[in-house]
């Protein structure tokens, strides 16, 4: 219990357990479908990317869980940030996240996303991904093995089925100012276009 991120992870898991099932049947069904069909945008930001191929292919075959890789953020439900993020990469990650359709979730893969990992004192990697984006599930390790990633997916499935109002994308919407402030602080002048502007998009 002396690793720093554990309490946070614990809180994520505890929270999910504490939620009572107060959903209607339809909501439950919808949640079930969401949990059993996960389109993943695997963003290979760092060395974690190397663990992804075995996860998706014959050895571990995550497609059993209904997890499929997609190429564009528009179609994705889950964004995997695999490893350390430099500010430059982070911009693209944020951009990709903002282009995903809700509901959407983030898995932070590897220690680097949690606390900077072995790059803790690098001038060019961020130390806490959840300052900038709402992470729904961390999978720790350096690198985490595919088993760990699958475990993360299973946990995330449970979380999705719980249909929590604390889900990351809702956080991001409601606490956008907070995330945006952090992003602006990091990126300075070169910040991405504001996501908010797209929020109030009109229906056709």
């Amino acid at each position: 219990m002396d690793e720093g991120f554990i309490p946070y992870q614990q809180s994520l898991e505890d929270e999910e357990q504490s939620i009572k099932s107060t959903q209607s049947v339809i909501e439950q069904a919808i949640a079930w479908f969401r949990a059993h069909s996960m389109f993943v945008l695997a963003y290979g930001t760092g060395c974690g990317a190397i663990e992804m191929p075995p996860t998706f292919t014959s050895r571990y075959d995550i497609e059993r869980l209904g997890v499929v890789g997609v190429a564009t953020p528009r179609q994705a439900d889950i964004l995997i940030v695999s490893g350390y993020c430099s500010p430059k990469t982070l911009k693209r990650v944020i951009r990709s996240y903002e282009q995903m359709s809700e509901p959407k979730y983030i898995i932070g893969l590897g220690s680097c996303t949690i606390n900077g990992g072995m790059y803790w004192d690098s001038y060019n990697t961020i130390k806490k991904l959840d300052d900038f984006l709402p992470v729904d599930m961390y999978v720790n390790g350096c690198m985490p093995r595919p088993e760990a990633l699958i475990e993360g997916f299973v946990k995330l499935q449970e979380k999705i089925r719980a249909n929590s109002s604390e889900a990351g994308y809702i956080q991001y919407r409601t606490r956008y100012a907070h995330y945006r402030a952090n992003q602006e602080r990091l990126f300075g002048t070169q910040v991405q276009p504001r996501y908010e502007e797209n929020f109030a998009g009109m229906n056709l």
Binding site: Y43, P73, K91, S96, P193, N198, G201, M202, N203
Partner: protein
């Protein structure tokens, strides 16, 4: 006797060309346009070959003078020389006919009196005339440049009306006047294949063009290629298919060229690489163009399919499987340039500098009318069959069945335009409703640049308009690349070079000094004296 003036096509051509001329009312070259119309009238109403030729030639030179206001010198030369070449071939055929008939009146012509060699020679000469006007491969050099350099409105006339003159000539000469002639069937076989090869090559060329009107010019060549192919069957149903396609193609090209004229008036741009994203600036024009291209591609739900269907079934009925395969291939390839046309102009991202003008209102009328007719024809595909059959019946062919206007009949099957439209309409509305009712909310992007672009934020100066590169891949396909690389123009240029070399040689004779001239005269005298003795 055959009265073309009583047919739908004559009315249609007149009506449509009047419609196009409408916006020109206050322009300087109105007189020339009227002259052009007059020449069409002479052509259609002619009762002797001489009158026919007068109409044919007047059409040639009046269009030349209209074109002269905007085209380059080389283009003009090419235009007039090819057209005159065709016209002179026609004149040659007329002279040959006169040699046997002793008269130029239609009623005096009896092709059964012609010996086979003369009939074949006449047929060949007429082929040249028809092929030049229709832009059959090898003789199409003049078409594309003149279409793209004419004023936008005149391109519409050129493509929609004038390009059909060759078809008219073919029908009048081969199906009416020389019907009994003993033409070698091989000639028609060659003609059929030339037509389809033209359409295939022209389709590929159309795909690789960057200029709107050049693309459409090649498309016109391709479409007329089908008509030539189908006419070469020399059958009643083929004639009807050809006439139907002529009608449809006239409507489509009028619509498309007027649409492009509007776009040129709005943007002052001609190239796909400089256009794009006009859909939200000119949604009506977009819809009109979409109607045009769907019809051009020959999709069901718009009139374009009807004539394609008739063409296919006519070929099937004649059991010309390979010919049909080639026609269908060319027709399928046409989707690519159809899409390029609509994408290049209306879809994709808008280039950043944008000063837009207003399109003249008078440009809309021909477009709306054509579009309405195309939709109507889709619903009632047999509507014009009665009119088109008139010609066939007069020529002694059996008419198509048009008892139910909704159903287009052919020997190889039929289809119900109303059912197609209805089914599509119901499916469309139902699916649209489903989409609207879906739990998911449609969120419209605020900035058109908010595209999924590998996480990058494209800037306004980033060129995202892929349109002008479309068709580039064709250059890498081994059997298409040579078609795109080679151009018959090289041959013609070489011919012109030879002519001018010869000319230089001869004209040097005319710069001789007086002594040499007299010496030559003396020499001639002596030679003749010796030779004559």
């Amino acid at each position: 006797m055959f009265h073309f003036e009583a047919t739908l096509l004559a009315h249609l051509f007149f009506g449509l060309s009047l419609l196009v001329i409408l916006p020109l009312l206050r322009r300087r070259d109105l007189v020339l346009h009227l002259l052009l119309l007059l020449s069409l009238g002479i052509l259609f109403y002619a009762s002797s070959l001489a009158t026919l030729f007068i109409g044919w030639e007047m059409m040639g030179w009046s269009s030349y003078f209209i074109l002269a206001s905007s085209a380059r010198v080389a283009t003009l030369q090419r235009y007039i020389l090819f057209n005159l070449g065709g016209a002179f071939a026609l004149l040659g055929a007329i002279a040959l006919l006169y040699g046997f008939m002793g008269s130029l009146e239609y009623r005096d012509i009896d092709a059964s009196l012609l010996p086979p060699w003369a009939m074949n020679a006449i047929a060949l000469l007429l082929f040249v005339a028809v092929f030049v006007k229709s832009g059959i491969i090898g003789l199409h050099d003049w078409v594309v440049d003149s279409y793209s350099e004419a004023t936008p409105l005149f391109s519409a006339i050129l493509s929609a009306i004038l390009s059909k003159a060759g078809i008219y000539l073919f029908i009048v000469m081969f199906m009416v006047l020389l019907k009994e002639g003993a033409t070698e069937p091989l000639l028609f076989e060659i003609m059929a294949w030339l037509g389809v090869i033209t359409s295939i090559v022209a389709t590929f060329k159309a795909i690789s063009q960057d200029e709107m009107r050049r693309l459409l010019a090649y498309s016109s060549i391709a479409q007329i290629g089908y008509i030539i192919t189908i006419l070469a069957l020399m059958q009643g149903f083929a004639l009807e298919a050809a006439l139907y396609h002529t009608l449809i193609h006239t409507l489509i090209k009028l619509l498309l060229f007027m649409n492009i004229a509007s776009i040129i008036a709005i943007t002052q741009k001609e190239r796909f690489s400089e256009l794009g994203g006009m859909i939200y600036h000119a949604p009506v024009l977009f819809l009109l163009l979409v109607i045009g291209i769907i019809a051009l591609a020959g999709m069901p739900l718009l009139g374009g399919f009807n004539s394609k269907f008739l063409i296919y079934t006519a070929l099937l009925e004649e059991k010309r499987a390979l010919l049909l395969g080639a026609v269908m291939f060319s027709s399928a390839s046409a989707f690519l340039y159809c899409y390029k046309l609509v994408y290049g102009i209306y879809l994709g991202q808008r280039p950043q500098e944008a000063s837009l003008h207003v399109s003249p209102k008078s440009y809309y009328l021909p477009q709306l009318l054509s579009a309405a007719l195309l939709v109507l024809l889709a619903l009632l595909p047999s509507l014009p069959v009665g009119y088109l059959s008139v010609i066939g019946v007069e020529l002694g062919f059996a008419p198509l069945d048009d008892s139910n206007l909704f159903i287009l009949q052919s020997a190889f099957g039929s289809f119900h335009g109303g059912a197609l439209m209805g089914a599509f309409g119901v499916a469309f509305v139902a699916l649209l409703g489903l989409l609207q009712l879906a739990h998911s909310k449609a969120k419209k992007v605020k900035d058109p640049l908010d595209i999924s672009y590998c996480g990058e934020v494209p800037r306004s100066e980033t060129n995202l308009h892929f349109g002008y590169g479309m068709g580039y891949e064709l250059h890498r396909i081994s059997f298409i690349a040579p078609l795109l690389r080679h151009h018959s123009r090289v041959l013609w240029d070489r011919l012109s070079l030879i002519a001018s070399d010869f000319s230089a040689l001869l004209s040097s004779l005319y710069s001789l000094s007086a002594q040499h001239v007299t010496l030559l005269a003396l020499l001639l005298f002596t030679l003749l004296l010796l030779g004559g003795q």
